[in-house]
């Protein structure tokens, strides 16, 4: 024995370079485990003393499990007395004279054996064909690549193993009753082992496959390296060969299998079969794919299912139902569900699930299986859940039976279901009989009769209505209306109409009456006549209904007819009718509606104005403009809105044409509407108005309208109006030119028309106007012109230019302004220039912040007045930097500047603090920044449940005054600190006593300090514990 192991070890060492396999020395503990796991009794009694040769030679890969399997086989033989064992790895053992002493040979993960010696090949073949046995464990198929006969004898050759030794794979037993499978108790199992794919050779024709992989298992079916052809992956098989027998099992890669009792027992049974002691059925069977769903198991799971438990099996049943395409497959599932219904131990949740599924796929055949549940008040509801939607007489029959047998609530449920199903047969009379009985039952019967409809149900209802009272009577009337609606829907308008008339009488409740009246109009042969009749009735209920039904009749005839009734109505009804006419929008009633503008009642007038939005046209324009001009408040608002929303190009044309012919406020309203309606064709008229408008209001409106509707091509015309002095208001025109110029996207093209016009301008005022416009547009192309104008001898021109430059939108004229501020003779000009300069120092530029501060420092030096010095101080925070801080601090001692300086210093400090904040944490330090990145969706977290001592630290960069800290965990709402303490420090090392402590209670934790704390470092320490919650900070904000 010891020798054998030494030999194996030597062989392995020689192969190690190729295979990197290492054999661990089998330990005494492992031997003990194997011994204990080995069966104590063999499945068969040996007919005689048996001898097993365990052969271990590897010419290819050497499995580390070889010594384990050898040891296990040896121990099993000894323990059960089934055989004695000889272990070898020498080819000589196959010499016939030596081999003959054995009853079976076990190829124990031998690899790449070639049996080059023909004598030995013959010997092995004679051995098995003559009546002996061959056993293969795991690698035993990895042999005989050059010896086809032996390869076929084994069943095939190794072809890879996508199911590696690290995985756990599902195994299915092909015949659970097969004696060699007894140890697995007939059930598929999962095993952690390496499973071979075998390139089989006539395996299914010559061998009985005992077990294989269950590829319907998700993990097994999706293993890495799997191919579409991997369908039939056999693991164990047996066959007769000549007079002898062969048993193979591919389990045995991992060591632990040798102390797995079921596997050892399987090996032993296979060995006894091979030796001839344990005859079993070896008839080959074709491969049969395992069905995707094990319906029997699913049904069992459903029987035991309860709410809150895993719904895996329920979902599998859903999927099975979805996959079942044929009626036969679906019937199979339907029948399987019946098993849940009839199982004594089925849970209510399980039964309910079965009923839900029968609702979806059940046929008439389910009626009887559901009947039992239906008749039991405890389960009646769930049975109805299934039955209600299943069509067929059989279901009706079961329900009628239940209707007769049941009482109380369960009976009400059955009545409801019968109603839903609309069974016009036998139940109708039964239900009719219930209408006079107990209240709840009667209610249900009424509703059901209404659903069922038809002459019998209806006459029962009509009969019942006279004697019924209160709620029940209402219910009956409502139900009759539903019947009438159904009739009308089906086109039986006459019948429906008769029914509606019956309920329209004044002694019925008002709601019923109203609904009936609506129905009457709807179902009438001449709905229009009914509507007009309603309008003429001396009854506001009828009038209102007639009005509300206006939009149910097509064609403008009805609108015209209704509009003609307007005058006879009361003011509130007029308002309603006008509003309904407006909603309909028939232009044909426009004139009648316009007449209503003159109504004595204000509310009617307003309603008419509103209605005109949809029914008015070009002829409405002037009346509306006049109305807008002469009214105020809501009325004016409504009139304007209508004028702005009137449809059609013709409306635009009337507005445009009427501008010239109207005066004063009406003209202004028309111009306003040009603006709102964006009538670009009106621009020429507007220009004319602009050139001679004397009225300020009109001038303002016309400029606003030009700004809206004129496009940049109109600029030369606008400029020439200005130059020709044909403007009522110079400043309005300047604004208009600026606004229209800005419609041009290209900034250079914005100023081009003005730059072109400027040289031709003589009038000083016009020149100033154009310079001011250039200033507003701020295009740098205009700067040379403006700079030149700075030298203009006219002081007004010069001042205008300085103002234009000071308002420049970028820093282009900054140095020009500096020179003006320094040298100009006018103090006013100096001030304007300096203010512009200060502003521009803060504009985005390529300068460093320090250089910008230097500019401001120069401004400070230049400023004579404290106003400008304060402006410098106010500008400093936008450059927040060390230099800005220093400059601001200089003014702290100047009394007149003190408060602004102080404010600036504080602001700068805060801003610097914000940009210099650094954070760190005891855990996940790399992610700490996510707590201050301004994004709520990112977070810092501990990555492990909260424990005391975890901390999050903030370094402000320099000491600053802090009032509070807010920790926001909204995205991970439960992850607020269980408890916390906050510490402050100026060096990040000496922390002292906590400055705040407490407990988190919700996603957002705001920690207010009792008094402001001036420090550079702040640390939040988590002090509580949680079993499952991390500490997360999505966003932290510091309250300065």
């Amino acid at each position: 024995m010891e020798n054998c192991f030494k030999l194996i070890t030597a062989a392995v060492i020689s192969l190690m370079i190729l295979n990197t396999a290492t054999f661990a020395e089998i330990t005494p503990e492992e031997i003990a485990k194997i011994t204990s796991a080995a069966p104590s009794k063999a499945p068969a009694k040996p007919k005689t003393a048996r001898k097993l040769l365990v052969f271990n030679l590897c010419e290819g890969f050497a499995h580390s499990s070889i010594p384990y399997v050898a040891k296990a086989l040896e121990i099993m033989g000894e323990k059960t007395g089934a055989y004695t064992t000889v272990i070898s790895d020498k080819m000589e053992v196959f010499r016939p004279e030596y081999l003959r002493q054995f009853d079976a040979v076990c190829f124990n993960s031998t690899t790449r054996l070639s049996f080059k010696d023909p004598a030995l090949r013959k010997s092995l073949m004679d051995f098995i064909k003559g009546g002996k046995g061959i056993v293969g464990i795991h690698g035993a198929t990895d042999n005989f690549y050059t010896w086809p006969e032996a390869a076929e004898m084994m069943g095939g050759t190794f072809d890879g193993h996508p199911w590696g030794g690290g995985g756990t794979w599902a195994v299915q037993i092909e015949d659970p009753t097969h004696p060699l499978m007894a140890s697995f108790k007939g059930k598929g199992f999962k095993v952690n082992d390496e499973i071979y794919r075998t390139k089989t050779i006539n395996l299914r024709d010559n061998a009985r496959v005992l077990m294989g992989l269950d590829l319907t298992d998700q993990t097994t079916g999706s293993a890495n390296g799997i191919k579409p052809s991997d369908v039939d992956i056999a693991i164990s098989w047996v066959k007769n060969y000549g007079k002898g027998r062969m048993f193979y099992c591919s389990l045995g890669h991992n060591h632990h299998l040798t102390w797995t009792p079921s596997v050892l027992e399987h090996y032993l049974a296979g060995i006894q079969f091979a030796m001839g002691d344990f005859p079993v059925d070896v008839t080959p069977l074709p491969f049969k794919a395992k069905p995707k769903y094990d319906i029997t198991a699913l049904v069992d799971d459903i029987i035991h299912y309860d709410y809150g438990q895993s719904r895996k099996s329920l979902m599998a049943m859903n999927e099975a139902i979805r996959d079942a395409k044929t009626a036969q497959d679906r019937l199979g599932l339907e029948k399987a569900l019946w098993k849940v219904l009839s199982a004594d131990n089925a849970t209510m949740a399980g039964k309910m699930f079965a009923c839900r599924k029968l609702r979806e796929i059940g046929t008439e055949q389910s009626a009887v299986p559901l009947a039992g549940l239906l008749l039991d008040p405890k389960t009646s509801d769930m049975a109805r859940y299934a039955l209600e939607s299943i069509e067929g007489k059989a279901v009706d029959t079961v329900l009628i039976m239940a209707l007769k047998q049941l009482d109380g609530d369960a009976k009400i449920g059955v009545i409801n279901t019968i109603g839903r199903r609309g069974d016009q047969g036998e139940p109708v009379m039964v239900l009719a009989g219930l209408v006079n009985g107990q209240k709840e039952m009667a209610d249900a019967a009424v509703t059901a009769l209404g659903k069922i409809g038809g002459p019998v149900a209806l006459s029962a209802l009509l009969k019942a209505k006279d004697s019924a009272k209160g709620d029940l009577k209402n219910a009956i009337l409502d139900t009759c209306l539903i019947c009438a609606d159904d009739m009308a829907k089906k086109g039986h308008n006459k019948q429906a109409n008769r029914l509606y008339q019956l309920f329209a009488s004044t002694d019925n409740p008002i709601n019923i009456r109203k609904a009936a009246l609506r129905g009457m109009i709807m179902s009438s042969e001449d709905s229009q006549a009914e509507i007009i009749k309603g309008l003429r009735a001396d009854d506001e209920v009828l009038q209102l209904i007639a009005i509300s039904m206006l939009n149910t009749v097509d064609g403008s005839q009805v609108a015209i007819a209704a509009a003609n009734e307007l005058q006879r109505l009361s003011p509130p009804m007029k308002v309603k009718l006008l509003s309904a006419l407006g909603e309909r929008g028939d232009q044909a009633v426009g004139l009648v509606v316009m007449e209503a503008l003159k109504d004595a009642d204000k509310a009617v007038q307003v309603a008419a104005i509103m209605a005109l939005v949809n029914v008015g046209g070009p002829n409405t324009v002037i009346p509306l403009a006049k109305r807008a001009a002469t009214s105020s408040g809501d009325e004016q608002k409504v009139a304007r809105n209508t004028l702005y929303r009137l449809k059609g190009k013709a409306v635009d044309d009337v507005i445009t044409e009427s501008i010239m012919s109207t005066q004063g406020d009406v003209k202004a309203e028309l111009i306003k509407s040009v603006n709102n309606r964006n009538i670009s064709d009106a621009v020429l008229v507007l220009l004319i108005v602009a050139s001679d408008a004397t009225d300020n209001n009109i001038s303002r409106e016309v400029h606003s309208a030009i700004q809206k509707v004129a496009n940049p091509e109109m600029l030369p015309a606008l400029i020439s109006l200005l130059i020709q002095g044909k403007v009522s208001s110079r400043s309005d025109m300047e604004k208009t030119i600026v606004a229209v110029s800005k419609k041009e996207n290209d900034s250079d093209r914005q100023v081009a028309p003005i730059l072109a016009a400027l040289p031709k301008v003589d009038n000083q005022n016009d020149k100033v106007s154009l310079l001011m416009v250039l200033g507003k547009l701020g295009n740098n192309n205009a700067l040379p012109v403006l700079r030149a104008a700075l030298k203009d001898s006219d002081p007004i021109t010069k001042t205008s230019v300085i103002r234009a430059l000071a308002g420049w939108p970028n820093a282009g004229p900054m140095e020009d302004l500096f020179l003006v501020a320094k040298n100009d003779s006018s103090a006013n000009n100096q001030i304007v220039a300096l203010r512009g300069y200060i502003k521009m120092a803060t504009y985005p530029s390529e300068r460093s912040s320090a250089e910008s501060v230097e500019k401001l420092s120069q401004a400070m030096a230049l400023a004579n007045r404290s106003e400008e010095k304060r402006a410098v101080l106010a500008a400093l925070p936008s450059l927040a930097s060390k230099e800005a801080l220093a400059l601001a601090e200089k003014s702290l001692s100047v009394t007149s500047l003190q408060s602004e300086a102080k404010l600036a210093v504080e602001k700068i400090k805060k801003i610097i603090a914000g940009s210099k904040i650094k954070v760190s944490a005891s855990l996940n330090n790399n992610n700490a920044n996510l707590a201050i990145d301004g994004k709520m969706e990112t977070r810092w977290d501990t990555g492990t449940p909260m424990k005391p001592g975890m901390w999050f630290q903030v370094d402000l960069g320099f000491a600053n005054t802090v009032n509070s800290m807010t920790l926001d965990a909204k995205g991970s709402a439960m992850d607020y600190p269980q408890g916390y303490k906050v510490y402050a420090s100026n060096d990040g090392e000496n922390w002292g006593d906590p400055i705040a402590a407490g407990k988190g209670e919700s996603a957002v934790l705001k920690i207010d300090f009792k008094q402001p704390v001036n420090s550079r470092f702040f640390k939040i320490e988590q002090t509580g514990s949680s079993d499952d919650k991390y500490w997360s900070i999505h966003e932290m904000t510091i309250g300065f």
């Binding site: 719904r311 839903r420 209402n474 059609g648």
Partner: protein, 336 residues
């Protein structure tokens, strides 16, 4: 308080309900029958037939109805839908609707019914199951993660973004003709059973395709995004709106463009209409069509097949089994 007692008072003109979805049908119909105007919540109802019953009752009794699809009364939603409706990006070919991901999770143990809760009444028409504390000691909010009461994020939000998508398309009174490629991910564990991920495609009679999915499966995430025939698009969501080019959003529609109903205050719009008897911005038929477009997807996910839909008669064509999903049997004694 029992809603029936409230209705019986007889001194109310209008009602605003805030109920779990499975109660919408019964209460709304009862209110309409009692002559009340109704501000109902979206989704209109838990089933398509339930929604149709509400529409019929509202029409029968001539009631004013407003739905809680308040996005219609918010400026930028109105603007985006109006641009689409007016044809600013041409004929619409494709619409993307993104609704929230996920749902509730965890196993809720069966607990005694709190004293102040009439659990049997709360459950109402839904199938019986023992009481679990859905939300601390109340039943609020989390009912939406149980299929018997709601349909999860999909049905919760269909009345928002599908509603807006329909608005822009002019589909307020119609529905798709087919729902295909439906796929839902239903959790196998925990109390909650609504789909946490979902995706399906509605096709309308004029060829417009609308893909509804949870936001992480949509290029624009949450909201509605319409794509025009030239590849231009407009997207709108709670945060704002955007378009394939900024010029689209500079459009100012004029009097001659097709315009949409305008409201700037959803509740006020309801109150105004109660007085004027005009139609609200989200009338009942509109709400019904908005949720139907979501419920059709739910049914396609449940049946696992492509479905053809007749939006006029509101039945599936050639699939009687799918038609079974259009209503749900109710627990005793409830009926609709």
């Amino acid at each position: 308080m029992d809603y029936r007692d409230l209705i019986a008072r007889g001194d109310m003109d209008a009602v605003m309900h805030a109920l779990p979805d499975h109660w919408h049908g019964i209460v709304s119909v009862a209110c309409a029958r009692a002559g009340l105007d109704i501000h109902g919540q979206k989704p209109l109802a838990r089933t398509i037939k339930g929604g149709r019953a509400i529409c019929d009752a509202v029409k029968r009794y001539g009631r004013i109805w407003q739905t809680g699809s308040w996005q219609r009364s918010v400026g930028h939603f109105h603007y985006a839908a109006e641009l689409v409706h007016a044809g600013v990006i041409g004929k619409i070919k494709y619409v993307e609707v993104g609704l929230p991901d996920g749902g509730g999770s965890g196993v809720l143990p069966v607990t005694p019914v709190p004293e102040r809760l009439n659990y049997n009444m709360w459950l109402g028409p839904a199938p019986w199951r023992d009481h679990v504390a859905l939300n601390g000691d109340t039943v609020h909010w989390n009912w939406r993660w149980v299929m018997d009461y709601s349909g999860g994020q999909l049905t919760d939000w269909a009345g928002h973004h599908i509603d807006i998508a329909h608005w822009g398309l002019g589909f307020d009174k119609t529905g798709p003709v087919a729902v295909t490629e439906a796929k839902g991910v239903y959790p196998t564990e925990g109390t909650y059973d609504v789909p946490t991920a979902y995706r399906f495609k509605n096709t309308y009679a004029n060829g417009v395709e609308m893909v509804v999915a949870n936001a992480s499966q949509q290029p624009h995430g949450m909201g509605a995004c319409w794509y025009g025939e030239n590849g231009q698009w407009i997207h709108v969501n709670r945060g704002g709106h955007s378009a394939s080019s900024p010029d689209i959003l500079k459009t100012r529609l004029g009097p001659n463009d097709k315009r949409l109903y305008k409201s700037t205050d959803h509740h006020q719009n309801f109150l105004d209409c109660v007085k004027t008897r005009k139609e609200t911005i989200t009338p009942v038929e509109t709400a019904h069509r908005s949720i139907s477009a979501g419920l059709l997807g739910e049914i396609a996910m449940q049946t696992g097949r492509d479905l053809k839909w007749d939006p006029v008669n509101e039945t599936f064509i050639g699939d009687p089994e799918a038609n079974r999903y259009l209503s749900r049997p109710m627990r005793t004694p409830w009926a609709l």
